[in-house]
Symmetry: C2
Subunit: 112 residues, 2 copies
DNA sequence: TTTAATGGTTTAAATATTTAAACCATATAA
DNA sequence: TTATATGGTTTAAATATTTAAACCATTAAA
């Protein structure tokens, strides 16, 4: 049984921030850097500036957007902040489910 | 076995247009209207303007972005165009797979 | 305590996106 | 043929986003 359209609509609104965050190529680059972090201990702003070619305030700005979207978090150690993509990411799971629901809807269209 | 990070990166770039298209609330409203189309025969620009409160050129502009993202298509009948979310949507499936890959990556982080 | 390093915030400028007005094209109806 | 309806395109203005410069705060080392 399909989800009703208004549930789909509110899920969509709920995921707006994440989708917007994921749509920017600079933020994609930051995410890729974070995912590729071999140390698995998080990356500092300084490391991300050299990896992405962005200024520190720009990286900081994008990290804030990614944090607000609940995709990225950080851990403070002394005066250093280590950023990472949240493991067991709730928002990503919600997005995955949402996309599944939309696909169900489009397939329903096909049948009629 | 995880996808390597550069494959993930190129998938991400490939999905930029779709993610950007999905991130805008006006376009979300258009998509919701299209998914909720009871007739299953597509909606005209005029129907979308009244449903979303946007002007015709604005709707037309957003529809173009959605078409470029390969999420929406249309069918011409005489001088009328009927827009719909593409059934069996390839891009949505790609996005679903991509999100799954990213989740795998973040879970790998958790383990170490 | 002074200095250096990390990094967040504010503000203003640059850039990109969104919108409406005005226009053009096409197809049907009168 | 002459309206009328649908809707796409172009352009300029409004709005939002992104960026860098300048600044502030905190921590650790000298």
């Amino acid at each position: 049984m399909d989800k009703n359209i208004s549930a789909l609509k509110s899920d969509f609104q709920n995921l707006s921030g994440l989708l917007q965050a994921l749509g920017d190529e600079k933020r994609q680059e930051i995410i890729i850097q974070l995912l590729g972090d071999e140390s698995c201990s998080g990356l500092q702003v300084g490391e991300l500036t050299s990896a992405t070619g962005l200024s520190r305030p720009a990286v900081s700005h994008h990290l804030k957007i990614l944090r607000d979207a609940e995709l990225v978090d950080y851990r403070s150690e002394a005066r250093k902040n280590f950023y990472y993509v949240c493991p067991k990411n709730e928002k990503l799971t919600q997005l995955q489910n949402f996309i599944g629901d939309v696909i169900q809807y489009t397939d329903r269209m096909e049948e009629s």
